[in-house]
Structure formats: structure tokens, C-alpha cells
């Protein structure tokens, strides 16, 4: 942790040295300005410069934009047409006149530095230069191509909204705004990416959230210095608390409803331009096993589903290692009949149990990875090839025992029930640690690794909030909403473990 921050710091210094950006004022003459812009952007073919003359003053002017980033209709109808058809005599400053009376675009600003202009043009704004004027009008005409709102591919729900976040950040913000009409909903914008200048928005509800968390998130986001943030995953890795941890310390979601729910719990949601995955911080271990389905269903079903997911997480982590420990160290723990039938099925298998488990587990991981990378249609054949062909023939060839195939399959299926994919990967990784420990020390090793992982968890934090909440420190009142899913009338208050400012969530009406 410390080391990482040191690196960040060092990097910051280096960068500020070779890239010292002091604002360049805009030149007085149009010719110069056009040349500078052309030179700066390398005179690309999609840079459009439309020169024109304005009014009776015969002032030269130019409209500059990048083709493809802007809404052409908008520029033609609301800018060009208006300017050309209003060639009236004006005494006042031409720029002000255009700004106030002519140009029919709401998002318009005056800028004075070249940096702002170039950034504006690259973000899809249209710049209006007027000769002998030091100010440039930047008109918000951005209209990139983006896909429409679809049902999210990850985190499927049976019952729940079918909308998912998309790559466009403004759409994403509006998706959140549409559902929360609270004036306290805040969006704080940063730009990250030295070259990409991506917009990153920290969203929270003032009055609910603990401001310490927001400040910490902002502080960490400001410390990021990178060329380009490929995805929210990269941002997550920049701002997480411990880079040595196998656990995800920041949640991610593609679902607006999950983001909104998190906001209302008093969390911070971080949206990044160019990715449909938004970040949720802070999170705790137990929350990674929550699905929105729990809240959509009635509480008994919700609680049962949640408990089932804890059980499957347990299976996903422990089953192979318990198999190794029980079979090679403590057969006495299993009843005689079961152990005899396992022994009979292992008769003739050439490998020790540990090797057998590792072979099957790695085979499964390979199949899983292949299934994800391949196109969807071929992906399903991987399942058939892997599951049926390899499993079946491995058993009939006598390389693995049938019981091993059952265990691998159960473990694999169990690991898919974890709603947070990043957590599911962590669990798969931990499984191998437990397997090694079980091979060396049996149950003793399993318990020791479990203890060590617990030590790690109690030391781990997500944006300064202990990962082991609400178990330790104990917030027993929050269990009814976080560990199980109690009936709604028992969930009147917001969970308190985030030390929210406004505790009351629902009110009973009579």
C-alpha cells in the first residue's frame, strides 16, 4: 500500500516536469489560430474548418470541429444557419451578440486558452473563432455514436429492470437521475487520463453519505495519473486499499438499480466515461454475496436464496480441499459406507487425491476460460465437450475417480452463484490455497489457512471501511439487512455500519 503510493507520488513529480502545462493564450488573429490548431492536432482529415464572414463589419470567422464527434444537424441549423441569416449591423461586441442572441445552443461557453479549445474540440464541441477576438465560443454539440440501453449481460435478474449502463457517461448519469429526484444527489466530476482526459464522476447523496468517504474517494481519484483508464477496473486498482489482497475491495455493477440502491445505502458510486461498469465503494465481504433478487423477492425467499449463496460460497472454496483432507488424512470423519465406496471408486486411479483434484480443477478453469473467450454460440459447445467428453472419458479411462468428477462439477457450479464476478474469481483462487494446505497438513492446514484469510480480512479495508463489517466490528442491528434479508418492516433504518448521516429509510404509514 505504502509502496504503491510512493510510486504514484514519484510518477506525479516526473510527469509534472516533462509536461508542464501553462495556459497558452489565444492569438489575436484568426489565421494564426487556425494554423495553431491545425498544427496541434496534426492537421487530421476529419478536422473541419468552415471559414465565414460575419455581418457588416466583415469580420472573418471560422467554425472548427471534428467530424463524427458532433451532431451535424445541430451545427448546421442552430449555428451556421443562424449566423449567416442574421447579418445585421451591430455596434456591440460581435461575440457577445452572437452568444446572447444568435446561437441557439444551450450549452455554450467562452474560453480563452488554447488548451481549453483543443480539449473542447476533441470532446466534440464546436469552436467559433472570430478574427481579432481573444475569446472563443465553445458550443456543446457533442454527439458520439453509442449503443442503446440494453439488458445487462452480467448480474442477470429474473425480476428487475432490464436497463443496463452503457459506455456513454451522460446516459449513465441520466439513468441514475431518472430514479432519484432528490436535489441532494450530487455528481462531482474529475478528469483522469493524461491523454484520454476521460470524465470520471463521483456520485453520492449528500445528507446520507458520510462525507469522510466522499472526501477519501475524491482524494484517491485525484492521485491517479495515467495515460488512459481502460475501464473502471483500472480505476478500481488505482484507488483500492490493498493491492496484495485477493479480494475485490470495490464493487462494480452494470445495473443502475444496484448503483441506486448503493447510493441510498450511503455509498459512493463512481462512473467512468467509456465503460458500462460503474464502481461502488465502500463494500464489505458479505455484500458481495448479495443479489438484487433478494430484495425483489419476498423476504422468506430472499433470505433463503441468500443463505443458499453462503452455502455455495462455502462449497466453492472448501469442497475440494475438504475432499483432499478427508480422503488422505482423516477418513475417520466420513462414515464407513461412504469411505468404502470412495475407496472402491479410487481403486486403480494412478494419482494421489491431491494431484487428481488439481488436474480436474485446472481442467475446469481452462474450460471456463475458453468458454468465456469464445463467441457465445461456440461457448456452449465447450461445456458439452468439457463436461461430457472429458469428464466421462477421464473416468472410463480410469484417470480420475467418478466421485472427483462430482466434486469438481459441484464446486464449479457453486462458484457461479456468487453475484459479483470479481469475488467469484477470488474464491476460485482461494480454493487452490486451501487445496495446497489440505495436501500438506490436512484439516489442520485448512483451518490455518482459514485463520490466515480471516486475519487478512480483518486487516483489509475498503476506502477505510473494514471489510469484515458488520461482523467485526459488530453491528448486530445491521445483520437483519446484510446477513439475512428480513421483512421490510424490520428494515426501517439504513444499515448503520457506514455511519450514515440520515438513518431512517422507510416510514410506516398508517
Amino acid at each position: 500500500m505504502k509502496r504503491q503510493s510512493k510510486i504514484n507520488h514519484k510518477k506525479n513529480e516526473e510527469l509534472s516536469q516533462d509536461n508542464s502545462s501553462f495556459p497558452i493564450e489565444i492569438s489575436h488573429y484568426l489565421e494564426d489560430n487556425i494554423n495553431i490548431i491545425k498544427k496541434m492536432l496534426g492537421n487530421p482529415s476529419d478536422l473541419i474548418i468552415r471559414e465565414l464572414t460575419l455581418g457588416n463589419q466583415r469580420k472573418k470567422a471560422a467554425i472548427i470541429y471534428i467530424n463524427g464527434l458532433i451532431d451535424n444537424q445541430l451545427v448546421q441549423n442552430n449555428v451556421l444557419k443562424e449566423i449567416l441569416s442574421n447579418q445585421t449591423e451591430t455596434k456591440t461586441d460581435l461575440l457577445d451578440y452572437l452568444y446572447q442572441k444568435i446561437i441557439a445552443i444551450t450549452d455554450i461557453s467562452k474560453v480563452k486558452t488554447l488548451d481549453d479549445v483543443s480539449f473542447g474540440i476533441l470532446s466534440g464541441n464546436t469552436a467559433l473563432y472570430i478574427n481579432e477576438t481573444d475569446t472563443v465560443l465553445l458550443m456543446g454539440t457533442a454527439s458520439g455514436e453509442h449503443r442503446s440501453i440494453e439488458e445487462p449481460q452480467s448480474e442477470r435478474l429474473i425480476r428487475g429492470p432490464k436497463a443496463g449502463f452503457i459506455e456513454d457517461i451522460n446516459t449513465n448519469i441520466s439513468l441514475i437521475r431518472q430514479d432519484i429526484k432528490d436535489p441532494n444527489l450530487r455528481f462531482e466530476t474529475h478528469h483522469i487520463g493524461r491523454r484520454s482526459k476521460q470524465k470520471i464522476v463521483v456520485s453520492f447523496i449528500a445528507g446520507i453519505v458520510n462525507m469522510n468517504i466522499v472526501n477519501e474517494v475524491n482524494r484517491r481519484l485525484k492521485s491517479i495519473d495515467t495515460d488512459y483508464a481502460f475501464s473502471s477496473g483500472e480505476v478500481e486498482q488505482w484507488i483500492q486499499d490493498s493491492f496484495l489482497s485477493p479480494f475485490p475491495q470495490i464493487g462494480d455493477t452494470e445495473r443502475p438499480d444496484r448503483a441506486i440502491q448503493s447510493l441510498l445505502k450511503g455509498k459512493v458510486v463512481i462512473l467512468l466515461e467509456g465503460t458500462p461498469f460503474v464502481l461502488i465503494a465502500p463494500i464489505t465481504l458479505v455484500e458481495t454475496f448479495h443479489s438484487l433478487e433478494d430484495d425483489n423477492q419476498r423476504w422468506l425467499n430472499g433470505t433463503s436464496l441468500r443463505l443458499l449463496r453462503y452455502l455455495t460460497a462455502f462449497i466453492a472454496i472448501f469442497l475440494p480441499s475438504l475432499y483432499i483432507a478427508l480422503v488422505t488424512y482423516h477418513p475417520e470423519m466420513l462414515p464407513a459406507k461412504l469411505i468404502f465406496s470412495i475407496a472402491a471408486s479410487r481403486e486403480g486411479v494412478p494419482f494421489p487425491a491431491f494431484v487428481e483434484v488439481v488436474i480436474m480443477a485446472i481442467t475446469f478453469e481452462i474450460l471456463h476460460e475458453a468458454g468465456i473467450r469464445l463467441p457465445k454460440i461456440i461457448g456452449s459447445t465447450i461445456g458439452i465437450v468439457g463436461g461430457l467428453v472429458i469428464g466421462e472419458s477421464a473416468v472410463s479411462a480410469g484417470i480420475v475417480s467418478p466421485i472427483m468428477v462430482i466434486i469438481t462439477a459441484l464446486t464449479a457450479i457453486a462458484s457461479f452463484t456468487t453475484p459479483q464476478y470479481s469475488m467469484a474469481i477470488s474464491l476460485r483462487l482461494l480454493r487452490f490455497c486451501f487445496m495446497i494446505a489440505a495436501a500438506v497438513f490436512g484439516l489442520y492446514g485448512v483451518i490455518l489457512v482459514y485463520i490466515v484469510i480471516n486475519i487478512h480480512i480483518v486487516n483489509l479495508k475498503s476506502i477505510g471501511v473494514p471489510y469484515s463489517l458488520p461482523f467485526a466490528p459488530l453491528f448486530i442491528k445491521d445483520w437483519k439487512g446484510l446477513v439475512i434479508r428480513s421483512p421490510l418492516m424490520m428494515l426501517m433504518n439504513r444499515p448503520n455500519y457506514l455511519k450514515v448521516t440520515d438513518k431512517r429509510k422507510r416510514r410506516q404509514t398508517k
Partner: protein
């Protein structure tokens, strides 16, 4: 600084453990599961120097598994035996014949032959190994066999593949009042530590495919050996006295009355009436609840259950009297748990007599036990009339 080194250190430790580790790891197919044990006297043992013969029944898992293709008539077990002075040593000798690691945690049943248990203190000594070694469960069942114990481990009924499993389930089956509860090793250990007398299940071979569990062997705690055998009928009497006869039957077949009652509940209570050491008087109250399951009697069991109850009281009383007499005069051993009663309720008296309770002075023999039997017929079955009435 330590974080930078942490992965390296972890790697060192991990490789150290992985390269040197796995001391105790034994693959399942390399284990030989001992499922049953028989202890006999070796043929060459003399009067003063007993040699024991231990037979281990090892499981052959592939023989059990019937799911694999091709029905094999492979034996599911393998019996190995050796003689020697003490059991742990003999077991070690046996392991010389076995290619796999012997593993006793699933041991289900231990059978001692009658002749081993007859010898004073030999039984107690040979049991020590079963309670001391940590891989023995306290739930292992212990039984006595008539004749050679290892012969029992060869009896394979048609439906069970392992003789030990057969014996174990046989001991658990409590549908008759003429057998004792299965004796768990843990309980046995407690009895021996307290030097109490108790009874043990008694098995004998009926034919090639079946063993019968009938009667009990009576163990005298102070003498440290078996003093006699109680046959099935008397075992029933003993069970009724101790309140353990919750199943089984009592049938009466005199000239004029002929019926069978099924026992469904049994309670007993014993009370010390006086505290004269040499003539202790006990009042025994026995309650038996039964149902009429078969009758050829002229009385209608539905309307006239009192007649049946009366017959049963007579029968049970005489059975009890017989049993007490056998215990007091012939076996001279307290098989009715009166010792436990005395220890728990008359501790000071017990402390003064416990050394001579059923040995030496034998206060038990001198005591007087009067019996009060109460029988209730709960119902008389599904039919109203018996066949005789219909005929007449």
C-alpha cells in the same frame, strides 16, 4: 520493507512445506480398513501363560462396490490373524502380512470368545489397548461369542457382504427382549473403571449364514471375568427388572390359556427398604405395558383384558423370581444395576459395602428383593373376537 519480502518468504516457506510435507498423508486406496476384530485364546496357551490370537477383518473396497460393471463374486473382506502376548503387538505382527496401512478408526465391532473372558483380568488387560489408542472410537460394539470368535467373522449372510457389518447391525437390532443392548466400548470402559458388574451380548453361530444373538454373558466387575451365561428367557426377566424390555413378547401357553403379548413399554423402580448390611431389603416395582398380538383364549381380550393382565402378572412374577434366584445363587453377581442405584442414592452405605457387594461377603446374595408387578394391556389388536368364540 517486509511487504517487499513477503511474497519471497511465503514462497520459501511454501516450497519448504511442499517439498518436505505430507508426512501423514496416506491415500485412501493405500489404507486397509479394519472393520471387525476377534480375540481368541491361542491354541498353545497354557494355564498360566495366556497367548491371545487376534483376527483382524480388513475391508476390500472393490468387493463391496456392486455398481461397477461385471458382477464379481469377490470377497469383500480379508481376515488376518496372529498370536502373541498383547493385542497391539499382535496387530503389528499382522501388519507384516498386509500391503496397506492398517487403519482402525472405522472399527465397528470387537468380539471376544467366551474363553478369553472367562479368565480373570485377561479381558480387562486386553481391553486397555482399545481405549488407550486414540484411533478407537468409544462407540465400537463389544460382544462375547460362544466358541471361537474368529469363526464369527467368516459368516456372510446373503444380503450383507461384510461379516462385521452383519454382526454390528445384528447387535443393534432390538426387537426381542431376550438380548442385551449393544455394549459400547465407552460404556464398557466406564463399568470396568468403576468395577461394576454388567451383562454383554452373547452371540453364537447358528449355521453357515447366520449368527444368533441370544441371552447375555454376565460379567462380574470385582472378579474381572465372566461368571456365567444367562439364557434368552432369563435375559428377558433381567430386562424386565431393569426396565429395558421395551420390545419383545411374552407368551403364555398353559392348557386353558394360550396367548402372546407384545411388550411396548417397561418401567422399573427399585427402593431400599432397610439398611441392614447383611440383609438388605429391596422393593422392586415393575410396570409392563403390552398389547395382545395373538390369542387362542376363551376370554375376549377387548372386553376382558383384566384376565389377560392377571395371567401376565403371574408369568412375569415367576420369570423375575427365577432370574433373581439365578443371579443371587448361581451367578452371585448383580446384573440388575442395583449397584448403580445404591451408589447414587445411598452413597455412604455403598461406600461401606462396595468391596463386598457381589464378591467375598456378597451382600447382594444375602439381600432380599421383593417384587411388585403391574401389567397394563393397552389394546387388543384390530379384531374384536377370537376364533374360538366364533366357532362356538
Amino acid at each position: 520493507m517486509h511487504i517487499q519480502n513477503a511474497p519471497l518468504i511465503t514462497l520459501y516457506i511454501l516450497s519448504l512445506l511442499l517439498l518436505t510435507g505430507c508426512w501423514d498423508s496416506v491415500e485412501l486406496e493405500e489404507r486397509a480398513f479394519i472393520y471387525g476384530v476377534a480375540v481368541d485364546l491361542a491354541n498353545d496357551s497354557t494355564k498360566n501363560d495366556y497367548q491371545l490370537r487376534l483376527t483382524d477383518q480388513l475391508v476390500v473396497p472393490s468387493g463391496i462396490n456392486t455398481t461397477s460393471e461385471g458382477v464379481t463374486n469377490q470377497k469383500a473382506y480379508r481376515n488376518l490373524s496372529k498370536s502373541g502376548d498383547n493385542l497391539f503387538d499382535i496387530n503389528n505382527k499382522i501388519s507384516k502380512q498386509e500391503n496397506r496401512t492398517m487403519f482402525a478408526e472405522h472399527l465397528e465391532v470387537i468380539i471376544f470368545s467366551e474363553e478369553v473372558v472367562m479368565q480373570p483380568d485377561l479381558f480387562k488387560k486386553s481391553l486397555d489397548v482399545f481405549t488407550r489408542t486414540q484411533d478407537m472410537r468409544r462407540g465400537i460394539k463389544v460382544a462375547i461369542s460362544k466358541g471361537k470368535a474368529n469363526a464369527l467373522l467368516e459368516i456372510v449372510p446373503e444380503d450383507v457382504k461384510l461379516p462385521s457389518e452383519y454382526i454390528s447391525t445384528l447387535l443393534e437390532n432390538q426387537r426381542s427382549a431376550e438380548v442385551s443392548y449393544p455394549l459400547r466400548l465407552g460404556d464398557l470402559n466406564e463399568y470396568l473403571l468403576m468395577e461394576l458388574s454388567f451383562v454383554m451380548p452373547y452371540l453364537y453361530i447358528l449355521d453357515d449364514e447366520s449368527i444368533e444373538n441370544d441371552g447375555v454373558a454376565v460379567f462380574n466387575g470385582k472378579k474381572g471375568g465372566i461368571v456365567g451365561i444367562l439364557n434368552g428367557t432369563l435375559t428377558k426377566g433381567r430386562n424386565i427388572i431393569t426396565g429395558d424390555a421395551n420390545s419383545g413378547t411374552i407368551s403364555i401357553s398353559a392348557d386353558d390359556t394360550k396367548f402372546t403379548a407384545e411388550l411396548i413399554d417397561n418401567k422399573s423402580k427399585i427402593n431400599l427398604v432397610n439398611e441392614k448390611k447383611n440383609n438388605l431389603k429391596f422393593q422392586l416395582e415393575v410396570e409392563v405395558t403390552g398389547i395382545i398380538s395373538e390369542t387362542a383364549d376363551k376370554n375376549n381380550p377387548f372386553t376382558n383384558s383384566e384376565a389377560y393382565e392377571e395371567e401376565l402378572v403371574k408369568k412375569i412374577s415367576s420369570l423375575i423370581k427365577q432370574t433373581i434366584e439365578k443371579a443371587q445363587n448361581e451367578l452371585q453377581t448383580d446384573i440388575f444395576k442395583i449397584n448403580v442405584y445404591l451408589r447414587n442414592h445411598h452413597y455412604t452405605l455403598w461406600e461401606s459395602i462396595k468391596e463386598n457387594w457381589d464378591t467375598g461377603e456378597n451382600y447382594f446374595r444375602q439381600s432380599d428383593i421383593s417384587v411388585d408387578v403391574d401389567v397394563t394391556i393397552e389394546h387388543s389388536g384390530n379384531t374384536l373376537y377370537n376364533s374360538e368364540k366364533e366357532g362356538g
